[in-house]
């Protein structure tokens, strides 16, 4: 089954547009995990098992593993998700991008080594740098479009001439949305990243791309508003969104009573976030 279909299936099964981001920071782990060699795996595993029936996907951020030499724990974590929660796709957040021969290896890293169902990719190097990822037809390729950080405007908000025959200008992120939803998406496997911190641009991207899914970071710690995000980003069926929350879920309970009940607290936070998102999906 294609990635986009698997996301939709998981969204319907769990009645959820919530993507649980796995950004494990050992400095914020509960006391009982301190010093364990597999602390990163164990922390994430507990979060995964506590939130799996509330999410439409999981998104481990590879830098949080690589900076700690914990690639093996990332492999084990993704294997655990596939085994215990087989309906839930895994997005490897790696923001890779390079020329063809190197991009082939990044695709193998994501899809063969880590067995991810999708990977985030940077569009700056253009279509031929993305093709080695697109060659994996059942996998999702998630292109950065309008990122959630303020500096995203430095390039993404520049005005460029339109090439579609229409007069006037468009922003670079609009061009990226148009390119990805059009030429680059021949096999229906593309997704765009648009930050929740910019609901106007989220609405604009939704206008440009039809029903294609969006990965939306930036709610919670980064300040994006859930109501505005869902209203601006939902597609015609009240779907088409993977709204990521990482820190607000992972660390919901790690500072309470030594963090003993961090997984239960994460579950509560995930439940509340899922339900708040659902409140705005229709109507």
């Amino acid at each position: 089954m294609k990635f986009v279909d698997r996301i939709e299936q998981a969204s319907r099964a769990n009645n959820s547009l919530l993507c649980v981001g796995l950004d494990p920071d050992p400095a914020r782990f509960p006391i009982h995990l301190a010093g364990r060699a597999d602390a990163i795996f164990e922390f994430c595993r507990a979060i995964v098992d506590a939130t799996a029936d509330l999410a439409c996907c999981f998104k481990p951020q590879i830098a949080y593993f690589a900076a700690h030499r914990a690639e093996d724990q990332l492999e084990s974590l993704i294997a655990h998700i596939h085994q215990r929660h087989p309906g839930l796709p895994v997005i490897l957040d790696a923001k890779r991008g390079d020329i063809g021969s190197t991009a082939e290896l990044y695709a193998r890293e994501a899809f063969e080594r880590y067995r991810a169902d999708a990977v985030t990719v940077n569009p700056y190097m253009g279509r031929d740098s993305v093709e080695p990822f697109l060659d994996w037809r059942d996998k999702g390729v998630i292109l950065l479009c309008r990122t959630s950080n303020p500096g995203g405007s430095d390039l993404q908000f520049l005005e460029v001439d339109r090439v579609d025959g229409a007069k006037g200008k468009e922003r670079l992120y609009e061009r990226v949305a148009r390119l990805v939803a059009g030429e680059w998406n021949q096999h229906g496997q593309c997704v765009l990243v648009v930050g929740a911190t910019y609901p106007d641009e989220l609405r604009r991207v939704r206008e440009l791309i039809g029903d294609m899914p969006l990965l939306v970071p930036g709610i919670g710690a980064q300040g994006g508003d859930i109501a505005a995000t869902v209203k601006a980003g939902r597609n015609a069926s009240g779907m088409g969104l993977m709204i990521n929350s990482s820190r607000a879920i992972l660390y919901a309970g790690t500072q309470v009573d030594g963090g003993e009940k961090f997984a239960e607290a994460a579950q509560q936070a995930a439940l509340q976030t899922r339900d708040e998102i659902n409140r705005y999906r229709i109507g």
Copy 2:
């Protein structure tokens, strides 16, 4: 000492603008390395030792290690370069890029874990995504500008309005060159990537940035011409270039007699490339 100064020192010491790219592909290794658990390290180590006095730096491409679960061999390789060839900087080619808190971890991956002297970074997410790398003041931050692949034009060649008060337009890669050489380079640690396959744009970038160094991939297998590259890219002192060659050096002798003398062949190829580059540095 700052990265830019270390590059200049190594360039002068070895009379070389050649960057030896380390893109190890086990399928192309000599027969006697086949099946060895440390084949990737051993192959690269032999190349490094054979070419160290002909190069101004080494550039391992992380995807070639990550796709083979060989992060430990990459660590060992960079440690070997620092120990045996202490004057030669190491560029980790990783093309990372993410929002601040994640970029901090990518910087730690490159600079703490791998002990690289510089890392390649993608500018699409803007200045605040680059700042965590820039905080490492002695390290080099090498931003993609005009990449060597044809698809690079998809975004990098788009025309945007100028913001410097001048009339007319400029290409996105020119804007990136201007931003990086100006606002982003407050501590003199930035470098730009411009492909040898586009000498006109290389010349244009050199006009925009003064004497700042450029990392130039795309000669050899990708078809970039050395004479045109050096003439277009050199700065006023006949310096300011790190011209990368990977495959043409690494695999110069791997198909001859089972590849037994691959290191000697790599040395010859590096020597020829260095000397050909030097022929066009002045005049």
